[in-house]
Every structure is written in structure tokens, then in C-alpha cells.
């Protein structure tokens, strides 16, 4: 009996070895670019903004999996999660049988791993507005939904143009876009020049108070006071949006009376989660920022909303 069990185990192990060996020699061929008719489209989205783009393009019912961080739209949050680009649960990826995966990464190992399990991986970028728009076009081409992509592109571009039109002629204050300071430290991350949020500030009729090209630098209070922003936008999301945290952030800022924004009462704590997501909701984000920065716009009906 003992021999039987052992033999069975050895056979199992050999089978597994053989399977592994076959897998390595002949990786499943990547399917050809979907032309719409061939295999049914099954999409894996590995970034929150890509999930939003896919749903905005009307491809929501084709998305079979998402990253851990994809929470919008609510339908997306109900989909199975496969981790993120740092920690990808490849077994679950295989289980979901996606035909194509869209992801945001500069590392070449993540697409390589996806390709190795037979999923066509399309690595995209969205550090800048132009890259995000480019990603929308690429997704349209890869899924064979160019027309939907073009509609979404038009929607975004027209929406941003309307915000630009609303702030035209208004003064452009120096605005600092910051995250709340972390608990136990007075330091905070702010949007540097060249980030996607920096571009949004420009659309919303403001100049970034942080003068240097940098990817979200961490600043001390002295540095913030030195910048002398005329308006401060603090973006508190997730656990920072709890009422007591918001109160703490407001109180901390109120201490720095030498900052022009504090003196003028123009420190705005915004709890919108989409201000920093380079997706279809950039239009809303630009509008929210514009209204926070330019109080005269608040309450006024935007031109585009007129029938």
C-alpha cells in the first residue's frame, strides 16, 4: 500500500514535470489582434484609469478582471481582482481566460509574464494628458472599437476645452495641489511641474505654485510657506477623508498664517477621489478644480450645460 501511494505520487510528479517542460518549450501562441469577429473579447484591466476608460467606451461587459485598486465604476468593483503589476496572481489571470490585458507600467517583466501565460499584454502610459489620450486611442485600436474610442476622446477634449473657456480672462493664481500630511509628520506630497495634475491646474486656469519639474516631491512646511501659494488644494481621499482627519488637516493649515492662501481663506480641502486619476473623469476633475480656484465660477451655469 505504501508502495502504491509512493508510485502514484511519483507518477503525479512526473506528469507535472512533463507539463511544466512542455509549457516552457512551447508557450501558448498569442492570439492575433482582435478584429472583432474572431475570439470573443475578454479584457483584463490592470489600472484604475484604464478600467474607467474601458467602461466609458462601453466595453464594461467585456472586462473579466481588474486590479486590486479598480473601484470605479461600481460595476467594476464587483469583478474578480488579480492583484497589481507588482504582485500579480498569474493563476487567477489564467483562470479568467482574458484575451488581452491592458496595463500601465514601464517595467518590461510584467507584460512578459502575461505573454508567457498566453495573454496579449498592451503596456500603456498615462503620466501626461497626451499619453492618457493616446492610451484611449490604443485601447480602441486593440479592441476594434475605434469609433467608441474616438467618441470618448471627443468627449474629453471638448469637456476640457469648455473648462478652459470658462476660466479664460480670469486671473491665474499660484496654486499648490497637495495631499494631506501623513499622521505624525508635517511633510506633504505636492504636484510637481510636468505631472498630470499640473496639466489639470493649467486647464483649470491656475499656475502651479511648485516651480520645478518633479514627480510628486515631498515638502516640509517651511518649503510650502516659502512657495507662498495663493490657493491651496488639499486632496483628501480614502482614510484621509474621515471627518476628524479633515478637521485636523484644516487646523494644521490654519496655523500657517503667513501663506497668502491661508490669509485669504483659500485653502480648499477636496475629497473627490478622481482628481488624480488620468481617466475619463478628468473633465469633472478640471471643473471641480476650476470652481475651487475661481470662486466667481461657483453657481454659474457652465456654458456647455445649456440646452
Amino acid at each position: 500500500m505504501r508502495f502504491g501511494a509512493m508510485a502514484a505520487a511519483v507518477v503525479c510528479a512526473l506528469a507535472a514535470l512533463a507539463a511544466g517542460g512542455c509549457q516552457k518549450e512551447a508557450p501558448a501562441p498569442a492570439p492575433p489582434p482582435a478584429s472583432g469577429a474572431a475570439a470573443p473579447l475578454r479584457i483584463l484591466s490592470l489600472a484604475p484609469n484604464l478600467t474607467e476608460i474601458l467602461f466609458a467606451m462601453g466595453l464594461g461587459d467585456r472586462v473579466v478582471g481588474r486590479s486590486t485598486y479598480c473601484a470605479y465604476p461600481p460595476e467594476a468593483a464587483a469583478l474578480p481582482a488579480v492583484g497589481d503589476t507588482l504582485q500579480l496572481n498569474l493563476e487567477r489571470v489564467v483562470a479568467l481566460k482574458p484575451t488581452v490585458a491592458f496595463l500601465i507600467t514601464r517595467r518590461d517583466d510584467v507584460p512578459r509574464r502575461l505573454e508567457a501565460v498566453g495573454v496579449r499584454a498592451v503596456a500603456l502610459r498615462s503620466d501626461h494628458m497626451s499619453e492618457m489620450l493616446q492610451s484611449v486611442a490604443t485601447i480602441g485600436r486593440e479592441t476594434g472599437h475605434e469609433a467608441d474610442a474616438q467618441m470618448l476622446l471627443d468627449h474629453i477634449q471638448v469637456g476640457l476645452m469648455r473648462v478652459r473657456a470658462r476660466v479664460k480672462g480670469l486671473p491665474r493664481p499660484k496654486v499648490l495641489f497637495a495631499f494631506p500630511m501623513t499622521i505624525g509628520s508635517p511633510q506633504m506630497m505636492v504636484a510637481g511641474r510636468g505631472t498630470f495634475v499640473d496639466e489639470l491646474l493649467d486647464v483649470a486656469g491656475a499656475a502651479n505654485a511648485y516651480p520645478k519639474t518633479a514627480d510628486w516631491p515631498t515638502l516640509s512646511p517651511q518649503a510650502v510657506i516659502g512657495l507662498g501659494p495663493e490657493v491651496v488644494i488639499v486632496n483628501a481621499t480614502a482614510e484621509d477623508a474621515a471627518p476628524d482627519r479633515l478637521e485636523a488637516v484644516r487646523r494644521a493649515w490654519a496655523n500657517w498664517t503667513s501663506v497668502p492662501a491661508v490669509k485669504a481663506g483659500r485653502v480648499h480641502v477636496l475629497t473627490e477621489t478622481f482628481l488624480t486619476i488620468p481617466g475619463p473623469r478628468v473633465v469633472q476633475a478640471a471643473a471641480v478644480l476650476a470652481e475651487a480656484i475661481h470662486p466667481e465660477l461657483r453657481g454659474a451655469t457652465p456654458e456647455g450645460a445649456r440646452p
Binding site: 509512493m6 505520487a9 507535472a16 492583484g83 507588482l86 496572481n89 481566460k97 512578459r112 501565460v117
Partner: protein
Amino acid sequence: MIRPRPVTARRYVAALGGWLVAWVLVAAAAVLLGTENIWAWESWESVRTVLGIRLYLVLTASIVGASLALAGLAFQALLRNPLADPYILGVSGGASLGVILSSLCFSILLAPLFGFVGALATVAVVYAVAQRRGRLEPYTLLLSGVIINAFYGAAIMLVVALASPMERGSIAYWMMGSIGTFDPRGTPVVAVVGGLAVAVAVVFAFLAKGFNLVVVGEDTAGALGVRVERLRLVAFVAASLVTGASVALVGPIGFVGLICPHLLRLALGPDHRRLVPASFFFGAIFLVLADLATRLLASVGDQAPPVGVLTAMCGGPFFIYLLRTRWRRAAEVR
């Protein structure tokens, strides 16, 4: 306590065969089980893909576990300190710093080399610091390990603070030690590190008698014809080599080198002729099981916890147990 039977060639081969069978059984179980229940799938293509992924993970875990257990065994014998372990002595920390620097500044392909250099430099420093009047003091040895670990921790934090947020995330994740990354291009690296582990196991198997005598005392060993200096040099270099290579492969994974040799000593006695092959296979089995545990946990939650976290959580209490019982007893005997 049962008196261990003398080691004969026949028993040696039988033990090797037994360990091999045990490893194959555990590895087969770890390939067949995982996050997803593949036995309910209808597509053989998908099942085969997942089996390939798991086989890669199981082989990686085996190689790393075997390497770390062998390194731990060698450090414990050479330093005559039951609490020695590549992680505790800072050797893994040195390797980590080397690997991080190489991945940021040079090609990732140089990572095993940098890991080895970091590990070897650390061994040299710890050894030099802890040596007083030609003797290694157990307390000083542990303390120098603690200090050098703190130093490497600070150096890695400095690198992390200067790195971009993107790199910061991946370094922080890598530092936790995780096997769950299948990479088709990693296959040759795994093969090289695996070959290295086997080679070092063979070298240690030939040095086993020397280890036995060095544990008794270096003077005794020298008097009995062991070339202690040469043994020490070869073993330290070999142990640093496998530690650096395994850190380059999966990141620092702690306490495997502490737990495995000790459990084996409890079961098999102090003879290194038994302990070397046993550590090689048991280290592999231990880490495969730990990795399987993290993958099964991942089927409950969304993500697998890093296996390094799991081994450290088992290893911390085990270290304290050793500190409170076995080490004290050993000190009293001396």
C-alpha cells in the same frame, strides 16, 4: 536519546534517496495545489499553463530554501554559534543592498554577483568585528550582526528615499521576500542558482567531517589534521555565494537557515555528514511548504502574503526559544 547508528555508504545513499522522495512528494503536492482549483477546469491548455507557473515557483522555493538552510548550517558550525543565520548575521542584508544597488545602477543581470559581493563583505566584517584574541565571542557575534543589519537597513532606506515613488514600491515589496513571481526570462537564472546550490551541497558534504571537528573546537580540529583556515575560507565563500544568489532571486527571506538545521539537529543528532544532505532537502521542503501556505492564503484573500513574512513570523519565536533553552545549556557545558 537514541544513539545514532554509524554512517555507512549504504545508509548515506538510502538517506539521500529518502530525502529525495520526500521532496518529490512535497513538490508534487505544491504543484497540484494552489490559489485556483484547476481540477474543476475543462480547458487542459489553462491547466497546463498553471502547472508550469507552479512548477517554476516550487523549483525556485526549493533552491532558495536549500541554499539558505545550507548557509545557516555552515555559519552555525564555523562560528560555533547555534543562533547564526544568514539573516540574523546581516549577510542577507548585505546581499540585499548589493542587489538593490545593482538593479538601480546597473543591469539586473548583475544582481547575483552584487548579492554575492555584499554577502561576502558582510561575513568578513562580522567575522573581523566579533573576533577577539583569536576567539569568536557568541555575544559579540550576534551584536555585530544586529549592528550591521541596522546599518544596512539605514543604507537601504537611504536608497529608497532617493529613489522615485515607482521604484520605492517595488523595492519595498521585494524586501519582504516573495517567491510568487513567475518570469519566463528568469528560468536561466533559476537554473544557475540551482546548480550553485547543488555544487555547494556537494562541497559541504565533503567538508562535513571537518565541520564536525570544528564544532568541537578549532584547536582540536587543527590537531586532528583539519586545515581549519582553508575549511573556513571555502565554507564562508560558498555560504555567501548561495546566500547572495538566493537573495538576488527572491529577496531576503529570513530564519530558514536558523529553523531547518536546528530541527534536523534535534531529530538526527549533531553529525554533519547527516546534516548536510538533510539541510539541503529539508530547507527545500520547508520553503516549498511555506510558499504553498502563502498561495493557499491567497485563495482566501486576493493577494498572497510574502513568504518572507511567514518565515520570519515562525522564526522570531523559534529564535527566542533557542536563546532561552539550547544556547544557555550549551554555555553551561562550556
